[in-house]
Amino acid sequence: MKQLNLYLLYAWLIFLPEILPATVWMVGHDKPLSSVSEALEKATNGDTIYVYAGYYTEGNLQVNKSVVLTGVGFPVLDGQKQCEILTVNSSHVTISGFDVRNSGQMSTIDLAGIKVLSSSFVVVENNRVRDCNFGIYLSNTTDCIVRNNDVRGVLKEEQNCGNGVHIWKGERHLVANNYLSGHRDGIYFEFVTDSEIRNNNSEVNMRYGLHFMFSHNDHYHHNRFYNNGAGVAVMYSRQVKMTENRFSHNWGSSAYGILLKDITDSHIWKNVFDSNSAGVYMEGASRIILEQNEFLENGWALRIQASCDANTVRLNNFRGNSFDVSTNGHLVLNSFSQNYWDRYEGYDLNKDGTGDVPFRPVSLFAVVVERMPYGIMLMRSFMVYLLDKAEKLIPSLTPEQLMDEKPAMSPLENGLNLYQEPQMAADSMHPASGAVPIQIQ
């Protein structure tokens, strides 16, 4: 009997949310409520607020209850360049379908379009964010989802501009299918662990498409980073998986497809690096496996500083790069194997698909340019070509041990399955019906 009572208690607890009436609040010019702040004030935990299309200039909106805040037909929340627009201080909040624009800008506080502070299980989806200082800002949060948002800023000076999606200190987040442009960094991660970034399109940001620091055990895949000021930076992290991304057209004196600084135990697999000043730049990186990537028409495909060790570069394709690999030292602690190099001129007598003579990807000219950057002015000079040939026969200046023992004879089929255009926020978001008993106020 006692046990049965306990079961009943459990059952009651499980069905409690179904039994309690959740309230639905409607906001709009011909709806019961006309302002979002009023609805937020009246709502209690578990309520749903529908905001219908219209133009709302209500200053800063504080969400302090676990509510579902849904925009129907993209209502505009305008901060008029004065303040932050939506601030979430509560867990279990969903914000979707809004057009958030014109946040203010301050030098002391990071004002954002949508900010989530010290909460969990918050979903920010299907929103448009325009001309905000920071787009979507999560601080000290766990288990949040940021997806299908379209965040666009206007380019101004780097120091006066925030990031598209900014997450500071968090765990288990998902950032997916967002479009980010015109900010300082498209996506900014600092102290964020066990998270996933997928299928985002981050382009034309002032600094980095993705900026990643002190964030361990994360996985980012199927993203596209295009024409950002300095490409993508992944720094001071370990166990990061970077797979099936595309890094392209990051041009500039210090622009990279990826900049890897003090990264350990990570896996870079099946990415495409095309037309970057440097495809991958590694500094202080250890135990990284770079495999099955495609390096196409970069200035430098791979720049490995001598501070890197125990990295493996294998099964990649190197095609049409001005320089394949360059390094600044003689010591070689990294291994290269079975890559395809379009400059390889060896032969394959036993027809096993790998060349019989090793390939040295660091050319003499790459060493010269590494030491004297202005040496680039002699690029494609016939003299340089002759010197490179001589050096290939008898290496003296180039690191002798840096070589691919078994280079592939033909380009490898890496079966790349890259970024697909994300499904952007749908235009009409209609109230779901059914499950919850609706009480219109």
């Binding site: 041009w251 500039g252 004196s253 622009a255 037309s275 970057n276 000043s277 028409e297 970069n298 200035g299 430098w300 049409g320 001005s322 320089f323 010269v368 030491r371 004297m372 950057p373 202005y374 040496g375 680039i376 002015m377 002699l378 690029m379 494609r380 000079s381 016939f382 003299m383 340089v384 070509y385 002759l386 010197l387």
Partner: protein
């Protein structure tokens, strides 16, 4: 002058060498473009032809032609003609013939496969290099009477511009690598017509690599209108000065 140019041109065409050169350029360009799927790679290979072969053929052919027509030149000098006219006519007709060869031999394949700004830059640069090396040939062949010596000198000149100069620049860079050499190297590169031509095309080709700090300096200098004016000025000096010097020498020369 025009009549003189006409006679010289007829002589050049009869020689069939220029026609062979045209066909060679045509075959090489078409071959390079059809071997590479990517027209940009074809352009890169063609760049080497343009920087090495075109100057060599231009300078050697012009020198040989000048020596071979020494009897014609002597006869013309006996006519009531200004001496400078004779050298200038030689220069213009040789330039015209070789430039036509380049325009047909490289221009048509470029127009077919790679009619981009890079292709256009490559063609323009090759035409200018041709004129510069004809001009150099004029000076060298007027200076020496002996044909073998003349051709030897001319080969040395080509060797200097195409190979040795870059080796010197490289040596210079190594020797003074403790100093900021950006501007010095830029100046050195700008003074060699072949290097200047190469860099002009490079600015179109290897954008990604050249966008580094030096590349930026480079682009700032040569990529702007001022830079283009400067480059054109340098190349004009290179094509005009030797031929003017040749006229001066020829005017006072004991034939």
């Amino acid at each position: 002058m025009l009549r003189l140019i006409k006679y010289i041109l007829l002589d050049i065409i009869q020689n069939r060498m220029v026609i062979g050169y045209t066909l060679f350029l045509l075959a090489v360009s078409l071959g390079l473009f059809s071997l590479n799927d990517d027209p940009t790679k074809g352009l890169v290979s063609l760049l080497n032809i343009a920087l090495i072969v075109t100057p060599l053929v231009s300078i050697v052919f012009s020198t040989i032609h000048f020596y071979n027509s020494s009897e014609f030149i002597e006869m013309m000098a006996a006519q009531p003609l200004r001496r400078s006219l004779i050298v200038r006519a030689e220069f213009w007709s040789l330039s015209l013939a070789l430039v036509t060869a380049v325009v047909i031999g490289m221009g048509i394949p470029i127009a077919l496969y790679a009619s981009t700004s890079t292709g256009l830059a490559l063609l323009a640069v090759t035409v200018v290099l041709t004129v510069v090396f004809v001009s150099l040939a004029m000076y060298a062949s007027v200076r020496t009477r002996d044909k073998a010596k003349g051709i030897g000198g001319v080969l040395l000149l080509w060797f200097l511009f195409a190979l040795l100069y870059d080796a010197f620049v490289l040596l210079f860079m190594f020797m003074f690598s403790d100093y900021p050499l950006e501007k010095a190297v830029l100046a050195m590169v700008a003074l060699n017509p072949i290097d200047l031509a190469r860099v002009t095309v490079l600015l179109q080709l290897d954008m990604a690599a050249l966008m580094g700090y030096t590349g930026a300096l480079f682009r700032e200098f040569l990529g702007t209108v001022n830079g283009i004016i400067f480059a054109s000025a340098v190349l004009t000096v290179w094509s005009a000065v030797p031929v003017v010097a040749a006229v001066n020498v020829f005017n006072r020369k004991d034939l």
